[in-house]
Symmetry: C2
Subunit: 360 residues, 2 copies
């Protein structure tokens, strides 16, 4: 097993550039991690995981902790992110979810009416997801870098419950939202409570930052976001703030929502690859840290293209006072791990000079 | 067969509010039409069409003209849009495309290398798509409202050729773009020439406006759009402008590209449902007309919700001097035609008063 490439303090996270950036500070070195760095494209992951459902794998803390740590060792990234899935709490609550390979999260009986709320009523993170706390503890004890805990945001999780499968148009979700706003609100309130409970457990077990995935919220207009989503997000972020942990909020296609996303109180916003960082900073305000946003497709191109585009992202990041390098969406499964390792090295070696506009 | 609800001048299009709006003028009545109004959700369409490929149906001008006119009769919309598909020219060129029901455009042998350019070299709209000109002539002779001709934009058509099937991540397209920019450029130049030829034929046959569908271009960053797409779009729009016809440019997820889209020279920009119209006007400038942008999902909600949301769109449209009401993407197949008819009536009856902020 390789030694981690990153220098680390005695206590994981103390003086970590990743946490400094989330606290709003410029950092000496540009911190970098990758969404979906754990699993998927790593051969050591595929060797370890074998077949079987991810939901089953997550119930084994040794396995989940090892998968979480693999990319830290191989890439030398500045943060570990928990190997998990955003449907873990609703699955653990007994809603009847599965993750079908090549298809995604599927609900046996989608959410249709108020009676379905009862199917989410019996959830306690400590009782139903104790294995997640165990995984977090194992990783926190071993990781040379801070661990990011995670959860799905109410809109995105609700969309899986309501649609019953991955969707492009979110027809049923929007119908419920507009035609039964009371029921949609009650569902989101329930999901807020579950999410806060789930994140608090991860914080208590040793996570040092949180990322909240509202991956599909870009399907809403700003008017819809303000009315149906923002209050719930404010509640979640107020509660995570009480935990003392910085939270990153990520979604795709959110260019039109950025001003509103900043109002949630998230410490950082994860940008997808569409939004130019200077434009984002203008809309988010300078107090919000920025994370992103190299197109994951670029990691499937040649090293030349990869370096040129990574450089362009770093140049754009000059507009952001506090900045974390990342992809603009998850690592694509067919990505060559060598490319990601080279990318981390490039960001660490040259990121700061590029951000300072020093000619190299 | 119902009489068209719209009053019309002796010559179709003379004094038509739709064309006035595209010319940049405020109109007495708010013009309205729907993307995908022809086909899909209309029972009279399904009765007429039967099974078989849309590409085969399009070869029958009587049939295609009738399908084009059906929504004009039923809804009283202010424009007809040609029943067609954006892959018609590449299909007619013999590239080997098909439209697979429930899946979309599929290429038998995707575009991979410069030798594949030869597979697009033999295209003449007049020779290979004569049936389209015949359809346009039939519609133009019979339609009480202006006919919109259409074509796909180079990026979106190229993505179908390169991916070989509908894609969410456009990995191969972006790889080719970044790694073989010369080849990608040559492909786009070929598609520009075909598109201009195809649109000129429709203009010559009687189309009075054009819509160019760059449906998936929102998958690019602004940097990519400027480098790989904008020059080709400028060329197309300069050439269509020489035809004397106004052109509308439409794409989804283009919020981050709006300022750049205005630089193409399009007379109007079709907005998807994500972008608030006042924001769009700010980025597009006042000289560009705006078309859009009710979420098509709303047409699957109750009349109450439909009217409330249509009103909100019309209120937002006050920011646009010249405006055409439309959906923010195509009509969903499961849409009740009665809802669309009611929507046209609402826009015609109350649109102007709402835009003038007169209390109703």
């Amino acid at each position: 097993m390789d030694q981690p490439k990153v220098a680390h303090a005695d206590e994981a996270g103390a003086g970590a550039p990743f946490l400094d950036a989330l606290a709003g500070h410029p950092t000496e070195q540009v911190p970098v991690w990758f969404m979906r760095q754990a699993g998927r494209s790593l051969p050591e992951y595929r060797a370890l995981r074998g077949a079987g459902s991810i939901l089953e794998a997550l119930r084994h803390p040794d396995l989940a902790a090892e998968i979480t740590l693999q990319p830290v060792r191989r890439y030398g990234v500045d943060a570990a992110i928990l190997y998990s899935d955003i449907i873990v709490p609703v699955h653990a609550a007994g809603f009847g979810m599965d993750i079908v390979p090549g298809r995604g999260p599927v609900a046996e009986h989608p959410f249709r009416e108020s009676a379905d709320l009862a199917r989410l009523s019996r959830f306690s993170a400590a009782e139903d997801c104790e294995y997640v706390a165990s995984t977090v503890k194992l990783v926190a004890a071993e990781s040379p870098v801070p661990l990011i805990g995670l959860a799905g945001a109410p809109f995105t999780v609700a969309s899986y419950l309501i649609e019953g499968e991955p969707s492009r148009s979110f027809v049923r979700t929007k119908q419920l939202m507009h035609q039964e706003p009371g029921l949609f609100g009650a569902l989101c309130e329930r999901l807020v409570a579950m999410t806060v409970d789930f994140l608090a457990m991860q914080a208590g077990a040793g996570a040092q930052a949180l990322q909240i995935f509202d991956s599909w919220v870009g399907a809403l207009s700003e008017r819809e976001y303000r009315r149906f989503v923002l209050p719930h997000m404010k509640e979640i972020l107020a509660r995570t703030s009480e935990l003392g942990l910085p939270a990153i909020l990520f979604g795709t296609n959110t260019n039109h929502l950025l001003g509103t996303l900043a109002e949630t109180g998230a410490r950082a916003i994860g940008l997808d690859f569409r939004t130019a960082i200077p434009v984002a900073v203008q809309r988010l305000g300078e107090a919000t840290a920025v994370q992103g946003n190299l197109d994951p497709t670029i990691c499937l191109c040649s090293y030349d293209v990869l370096e040129r585009e990574a450089r362009a992202v770093l140049e754009e990041s000059r507009a952001a006072r506090a900045y974390v390098f990342n992809l603009g969406h998850g690592v694509l499964p067919e990505t060559d791990p060598g490319k990601l390792a080279a990318l981390v090295e490039f960001v660490h070696d040259q990121g700061t000079a590029i951000r300072r506009d020093e000619v190299l």
